[in-house]
Amino acid sequence: MSAAESPPNQRRLMEGSEAIAEAAIAAGCRFFSGYPMTPFTEVLECFAKRLPDEGGHCINSESEIEAIGQAWGAAATGARAATGSTGQGLSLMQESMSEITRAEIPIVIFNMARGQGDYFQATRGGGHGDYRHIVLAPESVGEATELTQLAFHLADQWRHPVVIYGDYLIAHTAEAVQIEKIDFGPLPDKDWAVDGSLGGTGRSRNVNPIGMEKGSKGIDPNKFWQRLSDKEDRIQEAEQRFEVEQAEDAELLIVAFGTLARFARAAIRDLRAEGLKVGLFRPISLWPFPAQALRDAASGCKRVAVLEQNAGQMIDDVQLSLLGSVPVVAIGGISTDAAGFGIGALLDSDRIAARARDAYAGKPVPRGVVS
């Protein structure tokens, strides 16, 4: 590639929103549609600014419902397409997210969430029907750029939607990052995508979420659902991602995801300095949840402490993973600001250390709101 063709992929200070948009474009994303909402707005701004230069399209959609519909249409033609919002906006998109999963359309959805209260929405399939989608939760801007590119790859590999679970800190923190296209290996052909070419041949395509086939008036629901169910089993097997730190000798294992894990890491450094044996387990894929890895990491621990910025959601997955083998306590809680953006009292490593100390000693940790 000549110097004129290649963009200057230098390491530079970038806000998360811009870094995510640049990473998506590096991954080949050429369609984005969104509706402004804090803290997601700047992601939309960056796509609006950059995509036309790349021969792509960014639509300022009239609602989140239309945003995901437009991305659906773009992705159905085989293009790499994305949309996004905050958890509130994703609530409006859930009907489409459910159907897109069944229609097996690869699409990437960014949730620049207001805190971690959207864990259930992200991991349980917030819409109707039986489905799950892949959820990746970066802890930093740097990791967000890698996971964004991975998201497009996994979406194409599995023909499945992928959600990037970010937050205010990911979107609005500037970090030094270098964005280059990452090669994740070969992908299957998109021969399922509509381009109009098979019209009149008797083999024309129908990208649909109901199992409709051409030439017959019927749908075989059992065949359709078995295929989807088998695929989700395979994803669950293959795509668990996590990070374990200092778990070998840990008596207390803190489980935290996203940016909150970085605060936990700082608290653990202090606790280790005091002589307390504390480790960290960070799920990177929230679905599929890395259950076996957590079981392994927690096997020698006295307690597992779940640190999450909500009333207690991921703790369900932790308990389901451990099945009572290790006692589980919650050390997080609801933590937000007056604007509701999730910038609350729990984002403080001293406070987290204090709560972890209580959990370490077997003392009760207050539930509910962290203030």
């Binding site: 009239e62 519909g69 109009g196 070419s197 024309s204 129908n206 086939e213």
Partner: protein
């Protein structure tokens, strides 16, 4: 299928054929797969669908057309439509068509929606798609009822029309007034072509085909949003004998949703002139 059959051409019999053998005067439509369907006797939707597919084929779009389908009785016909399709959610087809057209601007992109789908659930989508001047063709099959659920009131149900949830007839005081969606969309700047047709008789079917041809041609020219509303019979949802469907459509729905072109080349047509 272009008819290049020349009866006076001398066919060399000592060489293998270069043109596929074709039955003369075949009336089998090219883009409609032959098979059974689940729609009711007297339904107008297969008639409308045939005109859409024939128009696509005649204009040379058999192998670049992409349809985006809503949810309604016509969804059951998609297994017989031999063009590439995307099945959308109820009401969302114009948005899905927007995304598809942006990525494939050289393809003919159309939606197929019912009145419940487009005018109830998805009114916002079609209005914004028209206002944006998206270069797609939205096609509405308007029978004034939710046919698939068994004949319930939609936003296009005319005053006095009996439906399962306006059993004594639609009453403006209780149920509000019908939306004349064609007239509404014609008024938007992004709309280039807008017309209302009906399949209640042979003349109406021919007119439907003409309007569809013009809408697709408008998209070919890149003029912006094009729209064809097709009034279709639904004797089952209207609770009338099958044979009375066409006259009921013409006299009741047709009296309010008036047939004709509303906008051409971006210019409103004065229907009183």
């Amino acid at each position: 299928m272009s008819n290049d059959y020349d009866p006076l051409r001398v066919i060399p019999t000592d060489a293998p054929p270069t043109v596929a053998c074709r039955k003369k005067g075949s009336f089998e439509p090219a883009l409609t797969l032959m098979g059974e369907h689940d729609l009711c006797p007297g339904c107008g939707e297969p008639l409308a669908l045939r005109q859409i597919l024939d128009s696509i084929e005649a204009l040379g779009h058999a192998q670049d057309a992409i349809g985006v389908i809503g949810i309604g009785c016509y969804t059951a016909l998609t297994s017989l439509m031999d063009v590439d399709l995307i099945q959308a959610l109820h009401g969302r087809a114009p948005s899905v068509a927007t995304g598809a057209k942006r990525m494939r601007p050289d393809n003919l992109i159309f939606t197929l929606q019912g009145d419940g789908d487009m005018v109830n659930e998805g009114l916002q989508e079609v209005i914004h798609t028209a206002a944006r001047g998206e270069n797609v063709t939205c096609i509405l099959l308007n029978n004034g009822v939710f046919g698939e659920t068994g004949g319930h009131m939609t936003s296009t149900t005319v005053l006095g029309q009996r439906t399962k949830n306006s059993i004594e007839g639609r009453d403006a005081k209780q149920h509000g007034y019908p939306i004349l969606i064609g007239d509404l969309l014609a008024g938007l700047q992004g709309t280039a072509y807008c017309a209302r047709a009906s399949v209640h008789d042979a003349k109406g079917v021919a007119r439907t085909r003409r309007f569809l041809d013009r809408a697709f041609t408008s998209q070919e020219k890149g003029q912006g949003f094009s729209f064809v509303e097709i009034l279709t019979m639904c004797p089952t949802g209207w609770f009338i004998p099958t044979a009375e469907g066409p006259s009921y459509l013409d006299e009741e729905l047709g009296a309010i949703h008036e047939v004709g072109e509303l906008k051409k080349d971006g210019v409103l047509i004065d229907r009183n002139a």
